[in-house]
Amino acid sequence: MGNLIEIRDLAKVYTRGKQKVEVLHHINLDIAEGDFLALMGPSGSGKTTLLNLIGGLDTATAGSIGVGGQRIDQLGAGALAKWRAANVGFVFQFYNLMPMLSAQRNVELPLLLTKLSSSERRQRASIALQLVGLADRASHKPSELSGGQQQRVAIARAIVSDPTLLVCDEPTGDLDRQSAEDVLALLRTLNREHGKTIVMVTHDPKAAEYANHTLHLDKGTLVEQAVA
């Protein structure tokens, strides 16, 4: 398979007051389509920054990022939002669900940006919830679900618009061991059976074991590449 993501000489500098902090230094990285990559490294190493850049949430200071042949570093804010809606699913450590919406409505959220009818949106959200094993919890609000269930709803939301890429920032960081394993198994299924390319940031070596590859970042530089 070809590369889905191609990163060249990527740098990111944050300005905090008068100080400039270079978080990423000239990163070069290719991620193959259908890969499951774990990004590891100590706090402040730049892994979440790299993930945000790959997911189009942040803009690079220098270098280029190509995803599926599209130079996302050249897109404006509006175009980048559209690109994210069509191509990327996001999973966060703290689930980031809308507390006032049911699981079904949360999953439907990305579909509001499409031209699908209300019944089509409902149907697709139901399929996504079924896929993560929560069809029977569709009407429940996040506060009525366990942490693991909430994360699975978040995964359903991430995959409902059928993106090619899933970016996951510490998806098991707030879960107990059993829930974490359930979530990781689900991610592996999405990768292996549904062909989703996954980039996951984690601190947990056990979580990284579910990935095909693990990359280590330290002080903004890729230091090591391991094959799981």
């Binding site: 945000n52 942040d58 804010a77 994210r84 980031n96 809308m98 409505r105 509001l112 939301r157």
Partner: protein, 388 residues
């Protein structure tokens, strides 16, 4: 419309806070509905077609100054004047000083000048021959369950009678009704007594009248007739000011205060407070949802879409409370009017008030939403997700 559930859910994320804010908005627009009704009714005072054919003559100095009764015959001589009647304010209260009734001591021909109301010929005859007789408006009669033949005790808040007491006793001899059954006229809520009886029975105001009402043959000649009437008393100790009934009413109201200005001032203060209160609620609501708004942007909502969502939420909040408030005003107005027995004639909340009200709701909604919406639009996803 597909975003409505999202806006609705965000609005009721904190139910108690939203409910309390809604109550404030509701109260403000209930007040607006009521006060705009008052403003409209004062603005429309005397705007009947017949009004242009009637002129009212009062003292040039003040509406509480009286005029000599002898002026009637001289006004009647003015070319174009058809009929001249006069009246005095009696200031009566029924049973309790709080139950004020519009009561006037009038000349025998007074009712003839108002073709929009009528009494039966028999009742008119009874009125003419009964010195203590009064005609009462049907709305007032219904309120206090008065009927022809009843004794009517009234307490004047100004005039004592011959005994020195302010308690007067009258006999109800007729009921004033609107000529057109579906019409509502001011005199339906009034009591008319004989000026002669009033004049002879109180020691203070012998031969004086409060104002004259002159019907003119041609409304187009009203200005000329008015000038001619005022010329009769020019340079005398009782100079007059004659104007159309509408202008006279407006002038009378103006002497009490500029109702329009008072209403606008009150509403201005209410809406300014509402602006601060709702603005604070919206700012707080959006601040609490920073990470949720960041998630919306993360999954592909554009900055403009987020701006529109927050503005829509703000407008919906004000519209909800405002429409309920105005609706309540529309319901309560007629109930209050009916309950007052014609003393208070609250007009229904008309299309103009609704249009102005809804316009205000949208404007307030946009105003209170614009700052939090702007902040939401400018939200940096990475910073917001990191809790910075």
């Amino acid at each position: 419309m597909k975003y409505l559930h999202l806006i609705w859910a965000a609005l009721f994320r904190r139910k108690t806070r939203t409910f309390l804010t809604l109550v404030s908005i509701l109260t403000a627009f209930l007040l607006f509905g009521m006060l705009d009704g008052v403003r409209t009714s004062f603005a429309n005072v005397g705007k009947s077609a017949a009004g242009a054919k009637r002129l009212q003559t009062g003292s040039k100095l003040s509406f509480i100054e009286t005029l000599p009764q002898s002026l009637q015959a001289r006004i009647a001589q003015v070319p174009g004047a058809e009929d001249v009647a006069y009246a005095n304010w009696f200031g009566g209260a029924y049973q309790d000083p709080h139950n004020q009734v519009f009561s006037f001591a009038v000349s025998p021909n007074y009712i003839d000048i108002y073709p929009e109301v009528d009494v039966t010929p028999a009742e008119r005859k009874a009125f003419d021959r009964t010195r203590t007789g009064v005609l009462v408006g049907d709305v007032l009669a219904a309120k206090y369950h008065w009927k022809v033949g009843d004794k009517l005790p009234l307490q004047s808040n100004i005039y004592p009678n011959r005994d020195g007491s302010k308690n007067w006793s009258f006999d109800i001899v007729g009921i004033i009704r609107a000529t057109r059954p579906d019409d509502k006229q001011f005199l339906q809520g009034a009591v008319l007594m004989h000026w002669k009886y009033f004049d002879e029975s109180n020691p203070y105001n012998r031969g004086r009248v409060g104002w004259y009402v002159t019907s003119v043959a041609d409304a187009g000649q009203s200005d000329r007739v008015a000038r001619a009437i005022d010329a009769l008393s020019a340079n005398s100790d009782h100079e007059t000011k004659t104007m159309t009934e509408q202008a006279a009413m407006a002038s009378w109201v103006k002497q009490m205060g500029d109702i329009g200005f008072i209403v606008v001032s009150i509403m201005g203060a209410v809406f300014f407070t509402l602006l601060l209160l709702t603005g604070n609620t919206m700012a707080q609501a959006v601040r609490e949802r920073t990470s949720e708004l960041a998630v919306l942007k993360t999954i592909g909502f554009s900055s403009r879409a987020v701006l529109a969502l927050v503005l829509a939420e703000s407008v919906l909040l004000v519209l909800l409370g405002g429409v309920i408030g105005l609706g309540l005003a529309a319901l309560l107005g007629p109930i209050m009017s009916a309950g007052s027995g014609g003393m208070l004639n609250m007009p229904p909340v008309g299309a103009a008030s609704w249009a102005l009200g809804v316009g205000l709701m949208i404007a307030i909604g946009l105003l209170v939403g614009v700052l939090p919406a702007w902040r939401a639009m400018r939200l940096n996803i990475v910073d917001a997700l990191a809790g910075r």
